[in-house]
């Protein structure tokens, strides 16, 4: 790689990145009521009794199974935060290039309309990217990486909109135009070298 543009960026440690609070799973709660104190009980004690179906963990989890977990900002963040920066062995999350407050979901069309009641809600996800320095020439590549990742990972009812955060880049307007232009994005993805860089960025996801 050529000259490194920003050799000493600010980084956040992985433990401080926003994450979904780990909820203690129901199963461990009911099976080991006293946490550590129950650790003396071997796992085999929890083997479900085949003759007593109500004791198996499945039935317990079945009402849980109904619960819907919608796609939210945190989930979008989890999809794009582990993307590698093209010039550092660090993730976009730890470099604060992508930030949780800069991700917004807005539903463009309500889930049902009169003509087609089963049509799903169209949702637009907007991600604002903050380059580490204002003249970063890799901003386009990073934006493209985020875009590709989301297009691969989100269901088709999502519209992806990736832009540079206002006031964080000297040529933000140009970059935004590039990222918003479907033709140009498609053309960029035909480029072998660029795809190589992108694949490397997305490797760790």
């Amino acid at each position: 790689m050529s000259e490194i543009l920003n050799a000493n960026p600010t980084i956040r440690s992985a433990a401080d990145l926003p994450s979904r609070r780990r909820e203690p799973t129901k199963k461990t709660k009911t099976q080991r009521p006293f946490g550590l104190l129950s650790s003396t009980i071997p796992d085999s004690a929890y083997t479900p009794d085949p003759f007593n179906p109500s004791s198996s963990p499945e039935s317990e989890g079945s009402d849980n199974d109904e619960e819907v977990e919608p796609i939210d900002e945190q989930e979008i963040y989890d999809l794009i935060a582990p993307i590698q920066d093209p010039e550092h062995p660090l993730t976009l999350g730890s470099l604060s290039v992508v930030n949780l407050p800069d991700i917004t979901l807005s539903s463009t069309l309500p889930p049902t309309s009169l003509s087609n009641p089963s049509r799903p809600a169209i949702t637009t996800v907007t991600v604002l990217v903050t380059p580490t320095i204002t003249h970063c020439s890799l901003a386009t590549v990073i934006g493209l990486g985020v875009r590709v990742r989301l297009e691969q990972a989100l269901p088709p009812r999502f519209r992806v909109d990736v832009r540079i955060k206002e006031g964080t880049h000297s040529t933000a307007e140009q970059v935004n135009r590039q990222l918003g232009d479907k033709e140009r994005v498609a053309a960029a993805l035909e480029n072998g070298t660029l795809m190589g860089v992108l694949r490397k960025m997305l490797e760790g996801c």
Partner: protein, 1018 residues
């Protein structure tokens, strides 16, 4: 024909017989039927032949004759003559072998050694162009000379060095190189090389870096690592090499290959460690300038680590035997620019380079006490200033982290072996900053917002380290830290992230290792006082307190006290007829504490037997008939109490265990007490039946001593007990109690020591109702008893065939088939009770045997079965498969795969999920086996993943995971036709209702997408 003629005729076709001819000649020399002169003369015409190959063979003949002679045959004179002769002929080849033999003889003296050596040196140009095998022989000769006649060669001085370096240049063969490096190393270490250092260095360094890669089935077993290590010890052999080694190594550090860089760094470490301080000092700053790039701009994690090690090695060498903290020492002059630069980087503590700067400081500080002092002096005051000036917590955290790393270094210095703090009375390097550091860290821990978890954890680590630095904090200050930690554990809101609490308890445990009195005096009373008495309705925070106490009681004295206090607490709680869950928590704590002690050798064992086993079992029995605290008769309490008493009883001696065994059903109650054993009685209330849980634990824990039970009364023998337990199990309605009765039956059967017992068991399995002497009714299902007895017999491989015939036969039955199918999941499952710990008889080959009988039978019966019972076979198969190791199942894959695929069409979700898991393992272990079924497999998995209405989340998740493992394992050409279908098929799953399913779908889709885009590096 003379021997030599015969030899020359044979040698080209048959080496062995030629060798034998030489040996014969040697024999006749020993037996004096021939003289040495005869032999040499017989060579006459051949050694002067014009053809070089004939000359060479003739000399070779002589060498072989010499080699075959016993060590003492040749006189000193003869050795001398032969040596002279062979040296003259050295360019003819063949002479080397003879010389090697000669030099090993006692009569080979210094002059001859020198003569041989000279001959080698003079002809080095001829010798170097020889093929591998001969060169190797020459090097071995040289190596032998070095071994046996080192003094003679050394006396030749620089001439010898030059000669040897000439001889060893331009080598490629790994075997030869191994010898060369060891010869060179001897010279480098032992000889005076000052004048020829560069020549010698170059002769070794020209092989750096080693890029050798051994051929696949290397007969010599020399690895690149072996070569690297030997070369490294040459390069680092002498301080004279410093002026050549450092610049050339640093030049190679610019290489783009990570392997070469790694080799360079490790070689640098070896050099800086072995060279003397003066030699290293000249280059220390130059080295720092190169290494800092690797560390501060981390590109490869492990190269940065190696660079840190090198840097530390420099500091260790420079600080060796150093006590002066003067600014003019080598060490101080080395550290100064480094600390300055790190200070610069730390001005922006949140930036990328700040963290490596901290690592540099810490690894330098841990190199020696003087280094620690110098680093602390240079860095702690500015760090504290920066800390005051920064305005955000993330920066403060980064700064605390650097300080913690320096504390780590200080603790490491204390622990270093043989470490006596230089000038013992001198104050600790950190002493001047004690109050300030203590204040900063205490405030960070106790006065920052609770959400700042990582910041507080860092502060906590810092305080812990400060407590661990030897002779640093006063006991009162450590007490303060302990109070902070207590406060965090006991009073902070446990909701949200519990990292701080966890760390706090961990820290208390650490402190208790060195300062256990402080924990005894402060933490222990505080925690005990925090235990509620009794707890309010839904108070559960006592669990955290109990956990803390349990973890703290590593020290025996603490844990003794704890058990005493917990028992008296339990007493009070039960007197007030307190909450069952609190009772359970207290019992669990006692169990946990005892689990960490070596009970069989514990002096308190008999008091535990009295105070816990006898007392509480009896209490529970009485409570079951209404005269005692009802908390004890809850099924959950009895299970915990059961485990606790089992732990104690297992540790008792045989005699005591027999005395416990006879109380299995009477439960230590006195005659005439209101409690009457459950056996042989009808219509007993459930509370009393629950005592069977305790009976089970007693029966399990007494092991073979259980036989004592049959001596109590005439009417109890194995057969009657088995029949009675069978009856109880049949009529039992509460699942938990039934489970424990079934466990008792299985224990009895499995541990039975007579063959009559086994056949009784078999009979009970065939007809449980008859054994129980009750009438069979459709409302009672005997399947559980059948399978528990079957399990008990199978685990010891008794009556295996009959048992399996019977249980397999049940599958075709319309009424008991479905339950029986599920029962197969029980047969091989690991059981807590039927285990070695409780004296069960387990055979190693059970799983293989059962599987090898069941798998083909199930497959055959399945084909023959009626449609209505077909699912039973699939469910049974899945039950067996889950416990059989993959290596075993692989043998029957071909038979089973069609069945497994059909299982995917069953509505039963448990079976479906388990089957997909089996298929995943199979595809992982032997992808070839599934190749033929790809089409139906992929389609079914996609169906399973994408139909959320029909499949539970676990099935959907498993299906995706199974799909995901195909690419890369199964041949690309097989998968290719399905690629587009899978990528499209998963699309709707990206919108699944469950987050973890979506996540897996994303990963699965990515793997399939990347499959048809070949890796560009490959």
């Amino acid at each position: 024909m003379s021997d030599v003629q015969r030899y020359l005729l044979r040698v080209d076709e048959d080496k062995d017989s030629a060798q034998r001819i030489a040996e014969e000649t040697a024999q006749s020399l020993v037996s004096k039927t021939k003289s040495l002169i005869d032999v040499v003369q017989s060579l006459g015409e051949y050694i002067n032949d014009e053809d070089a190959s004939i000359r060479s063979k003739a000399v070779n003949y002589l060498s072989q004759v010499i080699s075959a002679l016993p060590n003492t045959t040749l006189s000193r004179q003869q050795v001398q003559v032969l040596c002279q002769f062979l040296c003259d002929r050295i360019e003819d080849g063949g002479a080397i072998g003879g010389l090697r033999k000669l030099q090993s003889l006692g009569r080979f003296n210094m002059e001859m050694a020198i003569m041989t050596f000279r001959a080698l040196i003079e002809h080095f140009q001829d010798l170097m162009i020889r093929p591998h095998a001969q060169r190797l022989q020459i090097l071995e000769l040289l190596n032998d000379l070095m071994l046996n006649h080192r003094g003679s060669l050394k006396s030749l001085g620089d001439g010898a060095i030059v000669g040897i370096t000439d001889l060893v240049s331009g080598e490629k063969d790994p075997r030869s190189l191994m010898i060369i490096f060891s010869i060179l190393q001897v010279i480098m270490v032992e000889w005076d090389i000052a004048a020829k250092a560069e020549t010698l260095f170059d002769s070794a360094f020209c092989y750096f870096p080693i890029t050798f890669r051994p051929p696949p089935d290397d007969p010599y077993r020399i690895t690149a690592q072996d070569l690297k290590a030997r070369l490294r010890s040459c390069i680092s052999a002498s301080s004279h090499f410093a002026p050549f080694a450092f610049p050339q190594l640093l030049e190679k550090l610019d290489s783009t290959s990570p392997n070469v860089k790694k080799d360079v760094l490790q070689t640098l470490t070896a050099c800086t460690t072995s060279y003397n301080a003066a030699a290293v000092s000249n280059w220390s700053i130059t080295l720092w300038d190169s290494l800092k790039y690797e560390i501060l701009n981390v590109q490869e994690e492990d190269l940065a680590e190696d660079s840190l090690v090198t840097l530390q090695a420099i500091a260790i060498t420079l600080g060796r035997d150093l006590t002066s903290t003067n600014q003019t020492t080598h060490l101080a002059r080395f550290l100064k620019p480094i600390t300055n630069e790190c200070k610069e980087e730390l001005q922006a503590p949140q930036h990328k380079k700040a963290k490596p700067a901290g690592q540099i400081l810490s690894s330098l500080a841990s190199s020696s006490s003087v280094a620690l002092l110098l680093v602390v002096k240079a860095i702690v005051p500015p760090l504290l200033t920066i800390y005051q000036d920064v305005d955000n917590i993330a920066s403060q955290k980064a700064l605390l982290e650097v300080l913690v790393q320096i504390f780590n270094a200080a603790v490491l210095r204390d622990e270093a072996p043989g470490m006596v703090r230089s000038s013992a009375e001198a104050e600790h390097p950190l002493a001047p900053f004690k109050d300030r550091l203590f204040e900063v860290f205490s405030q960070a821990l106790m006065s920052s917002p609770h959400e700042e978890v990582t910041f507080r954890v860092m502060a906590l680590k810092g305080l812990l380290r400060l407590c661990q630095v030897r002779n640093y904090l006063q006991n009162s200050e450590i007490g303060m830290v302990v109070q902070y930690l207590d406060e965090i554990v006991l009073t902070e809101d446990p909701s949200g992230r519990e990292d701080v609490k966890d760390e706090a308890i961990q820290a208390l445990v650490e402190i208790s290792k060195s300062k256990h009195q402080v924990i005894m005096d402060i933490t222990f009373p505080a925690f005990m006082a925090n235990l509620p008495d009794p707890p309010t309705k839904d108070q559960t925070d006592y669990v955290v307190t109990l956990e803390g106490l349990a973890r703290l009681s590593v020290e025996k004295s603490i844990s003794d006290t704890l058990i005493r206090r917990l028992l008296s607490k339990l007493e009070t709680v039960l007197q007030d007829d307190g909450q069952a869950s609190y009772t359970q928590a207290l019992l669990s704590t006692i169990d946990y504490v005892l689990s960490r002690r070596d009970l069989p050798s514990d002096t308190n064992l008999s008091s535990y037997h009295e105070k816990i086993v006898v007392t509480y079992v009896c209490k529970a029995a009485l409570a079951s008939v209404g005269s005692g605290p009802q908390a004890l008769v809850e099924a959950a309490t009895l299970e915990i109490l059961g485990r606790l008493i089992a732990r104690i009883v297992c540790a008792l001696d045989e005699h005591k265990r027999r005395s416990v065994a006879i109380e299995t059903f009477t439960l230590f109650t006195q005659e005439g007490s209101p409690f009457i054993p459950v056996l042989y009685r009808q219509d007993i209330p459930e509370k009393q039946r629950r005592t069977m849980i305790l009976s089970m634990w007693i029966l399990a824990s007494v092991g073979q001593a259980a036989d004592a039970l049959y001596t109590v009364a005439d009417d109890i023998d194995f057969d009657s007990l088995l029949n009675e337990l069978t009856r109880l199990a049949l009529v039992e309605t509460a699942p938990t109690i039934r489970h424990y009765i079934l466990e008792q039956i299985a224990l009895l059967v499995n541990r039975s020591s007579t063959s009559k017992g086994l056949s009784d068991a078999l009979r009970a399995m065939y007809n449980p109702f008859e054994a129980a002497q009750i009438d069979a009714t459709p409302s009672i299902d005997a399947t559980p008893i059948v399978f528990w007895i079957a399990k008990a017999l199978l685990l010891r491989l008794s009556h295996t065939q009959e048992v399996l015939d019977h249980v397999l036969g049940r599958l075709s039955d319309n009424s008991c088939g479905p339950t029986s199918a599920r029962g197969f999941g029980l047969l091989l499952a690991t059981d807590e009770i039927i285990s070695k710990q409780y004296g069960a008889k387990l055979r190693l080959l059970t799983k293989q045997k059962v599987f090898s009988i069941c798998a083909p039978r199930i497959a055959a019966d399945f084909r023959a079965a009626e449609a209505s019972v077909k699912p039973n076979y699939l469910i049974a198969l899945s039950g067996i498969l889950k416990d059989v190791p993959t290596e075993v199942t692989m043998t029957e894959i071909a038979t089973l795969l069609p069945l497994l695929l059909q299982s995917l069409d069953l509505p039963d979700q448990e079976v479906k999920a388990a089957t997909i898991e089996s298929l995943t393992v199979i595809s992982q272990e032997s992808p070839g086996a599934v190749e033929g079924h790809m089409s139906s497999l992929v389609n079914r998995l996609l169906q399973a993943a994408s139909k959320p209405r029909e499949n539970i989340a676990r099935v959907r998740f498993n299906a995706l995971r199974c799909l995901q493992i195909f690419p890369g394992r199964v041949k690309g050409s097989v998968l290719l036709p399905y690629g587009a279908g899978v990528i499209k098929g998963i699309l709707p799953v990206l919108d699944d209702a469950k987050r973890h399913v979506r996540r897996m779908a994303v990963e699965c889709r990515a793997t399939w997408t990347n499959m048809d885009e070949p890796d560009q590096d490959a």
